[in-house]
């Protein structure tokens, strides 16, 4: 099972309501994934500030604030439930090693525009906890998880982000993730969980060094073995791919203002003007991409 949802805005019309639109989509996919939920939301920053999305796990915000102050010169700390967005103008090469060594917390994503929030629990609770409705942005991707191959934890929740402004959600299962993880580790990739999707995200990050998102996913068709419908996001790109057997569902609705994708149509039934949208199923083995 698992439910995946995503919206890419083609015009500015719905930027302010993006969080609200995604929120309803996630809640209606609760039946497909009641174990955990998460979302990535892209909001372009005009300045050079980087945003680091951090899950505090058991740590208190006060303690984190006190300890991180001594290590990083940040400009702002924004608390949102058990997550924190740390903003800093310092380059990721300086900040990432510090955050990775920081015990007790999990870095769930970073970049100039992306913010990621994910947690165990029912999607309706997760959405409420992070107040997704208040978010605005240019594109957003979400996931509701029915756990199969690894534990129900924050690290086991989607979206996975393994590179700057990158994220991936996945409905399905990969059968060659252990081999692929070993290969990617040799090339310097780092993984935080035993999850198959994290490996696919790592694969995409690795491939994006030499290719764009569309080319990367096309190459993934031969390198990733298993069942999947993927939604991948980058700074300005948004793409969808189903494996060639196409057992995992997906439906796309496209209007002049937005492209929306979800596992089932009911997740999109509330979207503005959806009944006049072009509605289609992504064909197996074909990469659909917008932006970039």
């Amino acid at each position: 099972m698992c439910g995946i949802v995503g919206i890419y805005l083609k015009s500015k019309k719905f930027e302010k309501s993006l969080g609200g639109m995604l929120s309803k989509m996630l809640i209606s996919m609760e039946s497909r994934g009641p174990d955990s939920a998460g979302f990535a939301i892209y909001n372009k920053n005009k300045n050079k500030t980087y945003k680091y999305s951090i899950c505090l796990n058991e740590m208190s915000f006060e303690r984190f604030k006190k300890e991180i102050k001594e290590k990083i010169n940040f400009t702002k700390l924004e608390k949102n439930s058990d997550h924190v967005i740390l903003k800093s103008t310092l380059k990721p090469s300086k900040i990432l090693p510090i955050l990775e060594d920081f015990k007790g917390i999990s870095l769930v994503g970073y970049g100039k525009s992306i913010e990621i929030f994910k947690q165990v629990g029912k999607p309706s609770n997760v959405v409420k906890k992070f107040d997704l409705n208040k978010f605005s942005g240019s594109h957003a991707i979400g996931h509701t998880r029915m756990a199969t191959e690894s534990a129900i934890t924050t690290d086991g929740s989607h979206p996975y982000s393994t590179g700057e402004d990158e994220c991936l959600v996945h409905n399905g299962s990969l059968s060659n993730h252990n081999n692929l993880r070993r290969k990617l580790k040799k090339n310097g990739s780092k993984f935080n969980s035993d999850n198959d999707t994290e490996v696919a995200a790592g694969y995409i990050s690795d491939s994006l060094k030499d290719r764009n998102l569309k080319q990367t996913l096309k190459k993934g068709l031969s390198d990733l073995d298993g069942f999947y419908t993927f939604i991948a996001g980058t700074h300005s790109g948004f793409a969808v791919l189903r494996d060639e057997i196409a057992c995992k569902p997906a439906v796309i609705a496209e209007t002049k203002d937005y492209v929306a994708i979800s596992s089932e149509f009911q997740a999109m039934a509330h979207l503005p003007n959806v009944n006049s949208a072009k509605i289609f199923e992504p064909e197996p083995g074909v990469v659909y991409s917008w932006g970039e």
Partner: protein, 226 residues
């Protein structure tokens, strides 16, 4: 009678349609705001007319008997799955496994279907005015699949006795499926099916595909001896 799914819950609507009061002879129903719900009009047994105004989710009109159901929108996975009789008409596109395992009745789809249309069909007539996706009529046992457009990869894989008629291109045939000669009786049957779907296309424009019968675990030539 109008049944608004924004105001009524799905289960009560289905229960109502499954338990028609025959004395009242109310036979026309319209369902509004289906909003992608699953199993809309599943398990109907009476000769009633239902129009669904909008897109629905999975297993719409599943197990249908006798009812005449029209969907003015798209349908999700497994529309009219295991239908026994009656008619289901989808005015939009259908997702995968349309008409799966259905024993009888007629399924008409004005748009396209994705993969596995008519998988394991057992007697239903399926008429798709658009194209069908890969693995359509997989292990299809009986009935007819008519496709006005193209068929995806592995059409009719491991086919039994279903007749497949395709007007467009077939990307590839599945194991044990081959092109067959269109005899007089096939043209008559196809003409009848096309008429059901309100089409004037000539049967001669279609090619017929069926089982090569090499994968059977019994020999059809000896069928009278069983």
């Amino acid at each position: 009678m109008l049944l608004d799914l924004k105001k009524l819950n799905l289960r009560s609507v289905n229960e109502k349609l499954q338990n028609i009061d025959r004395k009242k002879n109310k036979r026309d129903f319209v369902i509004s705001n289906p909003e992608g719900n699953h199993a809309v009009c599943a398990g109907l047994t009476d000769n009633i007319d239902v129009i669904i105004k909008g897109h629905v989710g999975y297993y719409c009109a599943g197990m249908n008997q006798n009812a005449n159901i029209t969907v003015e929108g798209n349908v999700g996975t497994g529309v009219a799955e295991n239908m026994m009789s009656g008619k289901v008409h989808v005015k939009g596109n259908a997702s995968q496994s349309a008409g799966a395992t259905a024993h009888g009745g007629t399924l008409i789809i004005d748009g396209d279907t994705s993969s596995r249309c008519g998988i394991s069909m057992k007697g239903i007539d399926i008429i798709v005015k658009g194209s069908v996706g890969h693995m359509s009529a997989f292990m299809a046992q009986s009935g007819n699949l008519v496709v006005f457009g193209d068929a995806g990869e592995a059409l009719g894989d491991s086919l039994y006795e279903t007749n497949i008629y395709v007007k467009g291109k077939v990307k590839s045939l599945g194991a044990d499926c081959e092109e067959k000669k269109m005899n007089k009786q096939h043209k008559i049957k196809l003409k009848e099916l096309l008429k059901k779907a309100g089409s004037n296309i000539k049967p001669e424009q279609f090619k017929r595909y069926g089982s090569a019968r090499k994968l059977y675990n019994f020999n059809i030539d000896n069928v009278s001896n069983y």
